[in-house]
């Protein structure tokens, strides 16, 4: 097992991508943040019925994880999944916002909502309301790739909490013995609702669990886009070349409460503030040599884009009650 605190290879990646692509990655992180800040605002205004799980502070983990993957690969997402959904190839923020507001034009025709956003056309096989729910499904996606003999891979995203469900263990073992092309991606944001990782595990790093299944495990700085990219890229290469799954742990932090109703009695403001200093967006901007003014401009751009998405969603029709029985069976 290796622990990468923060990769030093970023100048090489920057050279490989060029400044325009680097800016695009930054734009994507800003778009995610703006989406979620708007989601929070709409919620506070009472315009959203339901719950949501914000990933503010975890944007590098989302953008970095999708980055080394191809449009033909697959994503299985989890409940804190706005970021991964927006990072995935072919995502459309208008359709996301429309889904969030429960509109017919949304990704799931207003039936799924924040916790279930999927974009099946683009191989985004959906967020999941069940902790760990996507982990066994990834075995099936991996198996299908193997049987169909393609060189696709599947990225399955879940939280630290999910690794304590039995399904996690059954699945990693199966993917390992069958050498399936699965990237198990733990977004360790230090808490599962109110349960701190320190109380939920007796190990130092969740990636250590890979040992038990005979697969590589790696922990990376999840607030550093380059480090996330590097780890997932390596896991993807391994999977694509038939060597089987990898367990990647991205160490990050959620800035907001678990969901809409969380007094956050289980952590201190100081702890939150300390992590906010490691803002993944600012860190990336700095590494690509952007000054504050330029970052500010990009942030405004992202917010404008989100306003357009809200306008699209708000002008979209509600689902027709007459269609309520539709879509249960194929």
């Amino acid at each position: 097992m290796t622990t990468i605190i923060e990769t030093s290879n970023y100048p090489a990646y920057l050279q490989e991508w060029g400044q325009e692509k680097a800016l695009d990655l930054l734009r994507k992180m800003l778009l995610i943040r703006a989406f979620e800040e708007k989601a929070e605002e709409l919620y506070a205004l009472g315009q959203v019925h339901g719950t949501m799980h914000l990933s503010i502070g975890q944007e590098a983990s989302a953008v970095g994880a999708s980055l080394p993957l191809r449009p033909t690969d697959y994503l299985l997402n989890h409940h804190r999944g706005h970021g991964h959904c927006l990072s995935w190839h072919g995502s459309n923020v208008d359709l996301m916002m429309a889904e969030f507001l429960g509109k017919e034009t949304g990704y799931c025709r207003g039936r799924g909502g924040s916790m279930h956003i999927a974009n099946v056309e683009s191989n985004n096989l959906g967020a999941n309301g069940i902790v760990g729910g996507g982990i066994p499904i990834a075995v099936g996606v991996g198996l299908s790739i193997k049987l169909r003999k393609t060189d696709q891979v599947v990225l399955v995203v879940f939280g630290d909490g999910a690794t304590n469900e039995g399904a996690f263990h059954e699945s990693l073992n199966m993917a390992s013995i069958w050498k399936l092309p699965v990237i198990y991606y733990i977004e360790n944001n230090q808490y599962a609702m109110s349960m701190p990782v320190k109380k939920a595990f007796n190990i130092e790093r969740l990636s250590q669990r890979a040992c038990a299944y005979g697969i590589p495990g790696v922990s990376v700085d999840g607030n550093d886009l380059f480090s996330v990219y590097e780890a997932v890229k390596e896991a993807a290469n391994r999977a694509r070349s038939g060597h089987g799954p990898t367990l990647v742990e991205a160490l990050t932090y959620r800035w907001r409460g678990h969901s809409k109703s969380d007094r956050q009695a289980y952590r201190t403001r100081e702890e939150v503030k300390a992590w906010q200093k490691k803002d993944p967006i600012k860190r990336f901007a700095k590494k690509i040599g952007l000054d504050e003014k330029a970052l500010d401009d990009l942030q405004q751009e992202a917010r404008k884009r989100i306003e357009q998405a809200v306008a699209f969603a708000e002008s979209s029709p509600e689902p027709d009650v007459a269609t309520i029985m539709e879509g249960v069976y194929a």
């Binding site: 959203v48 019925h49 339901g50 719950t51 429960g102 509109k103 799931c108 207003g110 039936r111 799924g112 909502g113 916790m115 279930h116 999941n128 309301g129 069940i130 902790v131 760990g132 729910g133 909490g161 999910a162 304590n164 469900e165 039995g166 599962a192 609702m193 109110s194 349960m195 109380k199 939920a200 595990f201 969380d262 009695a265 289980y266 509600e318 689902p319 009650v321 309520i324 029985m325 249960v328």
Partner: protein, 328 residues
């Protein structure tokens, strides 16, 4: 008269039994400092400490198994499954272990625990956080199923469930947690398996569970204004079910409708209706029996669709009127 919310009433039952009986403890996800997803156990960790208010990792099967093992060895655990939907992850332990241990062991063991869990829609939580799965457990011999509809019943039934020597699935409703009602301060038990007539009437019997009891009572008020007198019965314990008040009521009214939130197909209503047909009340029926229940769909996210997916007061009024005034 002292009023408490449904959540407070549950908490009071938990607090009182835990003070009186050192074998009672709670175990579940985020029930400690967080106070439970719906606040039922708020503050209890300060009173009883983390040894008796046990926060678990996200491991429903193991926490349910922990209830079983502790119950087998002299404790009376109260487990919490954060949303009823997640009870699916504990099915093996519940259905294959908890329900069968006593019988398989020739009656020589007992498994006294309660598994509390919030069910129901109406919060916009969509398909995986809104189900009412009570009838799955009604189907399993060895399990008891309790579903309180008022703060008063919640407190008394929870205490009875804790002191019952069998595994009890205790189904709460998310929309009821904040509803208020009279709750005596002293500890009391409401015996399991006693259906209750919550409103008397002569024209129609409504058998309703959980939040549908409240909606049926509201419907009954509206119907009374047009001269239809509805009798509302709350079984409170779905398994083992006390049919006596239901049969007696149907003999009196000659008409019956069962109302529940769970989807109609395979739901509790089918069982109640079948038992009425098998009973002496059959000869007294003046109209076909009715079931008003959730549509056979997963709960949609969109607010309007969500409310159309399960019976609302208006639907109960309409159905009742048709049943009494003709139309069926």
């Amino acid at each position: 008269m002292r009023e408490l919310t449904y959540a407070e009433a549950l908490r009071e039952a938990l607090r009182q039994t835990m003070h009186a009986d050192p074998t009672v403890f709670m175990i579940g996800e985020d029930i400690g400092v967080y106070g439970g997803a719906f606040g039922v156990s708020a503050g209890l960790i300060d009173e009883f400490g983390p040894e008796r208010i046990i926060d678990t990792p996200i491991s429903e099967a193991a926490l349910t198994g922990a209830c079983i093992g502790a119950a087998l060895t002299g404790m009376r655990p109260v487990g919490e499954i954060q949303f009823m939907d997640f009870i699916t992850l504990a099915m093996e332990q519940l259905v294959l272990q908890a329900a069968k241990i006593r019988f398989m062991f020739g009656g020589k063991a007992k498994v006294p625990f309660v598994l509390r869990t919030p069910a129901g829609s109406g919060t916009g939580a969509a398909a995986q956080h809104s189900q009412s799965l009570e009838n799955w457990f009604v189907h399993v011999p060895g399990l008891k199923v309790v579903m309180p509809s008022t703060p008063y019943d919640a407190k008394g039934l929870l205490r009875a469930a804790i002191y019952d020597d069998n595994p009890v699935i205790f189904v709460e409703h998310k929309l009821l947690y904040k509803t208020k009602g009279y709750v005596p301060e002293e500890p009391y038990e409401i015996p399991l398996s006693q259906s209750k007539v919550v409103r008397e009437g002569t024209d129609l019997t409504i058998v309703a569970t959980s939040i549908m009891v409240q909606r049926s009572l509201q419907a009954a008020e509206i119907l009374a204004q047009v001269g239809i007198q509805v009798e509302v019965i709350d079984p409170r314990t779905l398994k083992p079910l006390d049919m006596n008040p239901i049969v007696a009521s149907v003999k009196k009214t000659g008409r019956v409708m069962v109302v529940h939130e769970a989807v109609k197909t395979g739901g509790f209503g089918g069982e109640v209706v079948a038992r009425i047909m098998e009973s002496e009340a059959f000869d007294y029926l003046e109209a076909p029996v009715r079931r008003l229940a959730g549509l056979d769909i997963p709960i949609p996210y969109n607010r309007t669709l969500e409310s159309h997916a399960v019976p609302q007061v208006d639907n109960i009024v309409d159905e009742a009127r048709k049943l009494v005034r003709g139309g069926y």
